[in-house]
């Protein structure tokens, strides 16, 4: 693929990924949320996303260390993720009200986890739906090797 065409393809891929958010923002009518509350929510979402993915990554690093005979990999991974999570938490606590009106940071974390359930479930359903929609067009036998591709 020529270089210019590659850039166009990558730009098109990025634009395609942004289609959903752009449509949502274009359709959003009515009162917008308070920017400060939005900032606090964003900080909480970053933190929850980091913690949940870190837990998954630790499990993956355990499997990696086992398969590649690198027993220190999960320990190092855990240390790196813990230190970064601690620094990130401290920074977010200073820059925004992470705890809000919750009784403790852990209570706030679980509240935020429930709050993020629509996002997680929405993404979890959309990915298989998108893949199945792509699979509807499968033509394994109908296309002869010599036939020109059609869409």
């Amino acid at each position: 693929m020529p270089e210019a065409r590659t850039y166009v393809a990558i730009a098109s891929l990025a634009s395609a990924l942004l289609l959903g958010p752009v449509v949502v923002l274009l359709l959003a009518t009515g009162t917008n949320p308070d920017p400060n509350a939005l900032g606090v929510g964003l900080a909480n979402d970053v933190f929850v996303g980091f913690i949940v993915t870190s837990l998954g990554m630790i499990l993956l690093l355990l499997a990696y260390g086992d398969n590649r005979d690198r027993p220190a990999a999960p320990v190092l991974g855990l240390c790196v993720l813990l230190v970064t999570g601690f620094i990130l938490g401290l920074w977010l606590l200073q820059s925004s009200d992470l705890i809000g009106d919750a009784s403790s940071p852990i209570a706030r974390f679980f509240t935020e986890l429930v709050h993020l359930a629509p996002v997680g479930l929405g993404l979890a359903l959309a990915v298989p739906v998108g893949l199945l929609i792509a699979a509807v067009g499968l033509r394994t036998f109908a296309l002869d090797d010599a036939e020109m591709p059609r869409s």
Partner: protein, 246 residues
């Protein structure tokens, strides 16, 4: 405190066990996990009945609603896929129309239905917006990927374009509240940012270990016997005009 402990024991601990058990069953699959995983899943699904006062059960109520629209949608799409031109597991001629009907039912539910058992209605609205927007993005991404990077296309790309257009149209029909729309986009961005940081750090750890792998040992020089055998193969191939199987 007692309520939090009940929620931890009857919802969060089973949820963790269900996720961990599912990974175990996909991998090596220990015998105990075949019993523990479905039991944990059952406890999670029954949470609105066992811990009705906890705010955490709102997520499970939402899960019930997701099952109501998700199951027919996924079943319908599977029937449409396997009712088409596939080498294995092809369903009879009724597969495609039935699948289309199920997908149409799901689409109608997505646009017009709000489950009464989900206490916090904004949770449902946010789920619908995220699901439709993400479906539009994934379908459009796959369409572009298919058009640009698949040189000999053995499949049709129009279903992906139709998926992106349909999801966007359903979003238009459903409508997006101003506060929910901006909030949802911010939430997805925040989760991706946090998850991306964790992924990047884990990749750095793997890269660090792979970079420090020792170099493979040098092979010993070929023996006289190896050289004679190689010379014999070259001579035979040269004599037979380069035919590999000669």
């Amino acid at each position: 405190m007692e309520q939090a402990l009940t929620a931890a024991l009857l919802l969060w601990a089973p949820a963790l066990l269900a996720v961990f058990g599912a990974f175990n069953l996909i991998g090596r699959g220990g015998g105990a996990w075949k019993v523990v995983t479905p039991l944990s899943l059952l406890l999670v699904v029954m949470a609105p009945l066992t811990v009705p006062d906890s705010t955490s059960t709102q997520a499970v109520e939402l899960l019930w609603g997701v099952a109501v629209i998700g199951l027919p949608l996924l079943c319908g799409l599977v029937l449409m896929v396997f009712g088409g031109d596939v080498p294995v597991g092809r369903v009879p001629a009724w597969g495609r129309p039935t699948g289309l009907l199920l997908v149409a039912c799901s689409a109608w539910l997505v646009v017009s239905w709000t489950p009464t058992f989900v206490e916090d209605v904004t949770l449902w609205d946010r789920f619908v917006v995220v699901m439709l927007a993400a479906t539009a993005s994934v379908s459009a991404f796959l369409f572009v990927l298919h058009r640009f990077f698949v040189p000999r296309r053995r499949s049709l790309s129009w279903p992906m374009l139709a998926g992106a257009v349909s999801a966007s149209s359903l979003l238009v029909l459903r409508g997006v509240d101003g506060s929910i729309g901006v909030l949802v986009v911010a939430e997805v961005a925040g989760v991706f940012l946090g998850a991306g940081m964790a992924l990047l750090l884990s990749m750095l750890v793997v890269w660090f270990f792979e970079r420090n792998l020792p170099e493979p040992d040098d092979l010993p020089p070929p023996s006289e016997e190896d050289l004679e055998r190689a010379a014999a193969i070259i001579a035979r191939r040269t004599h037979n005009g380069g035919d590999f199987h000669a």
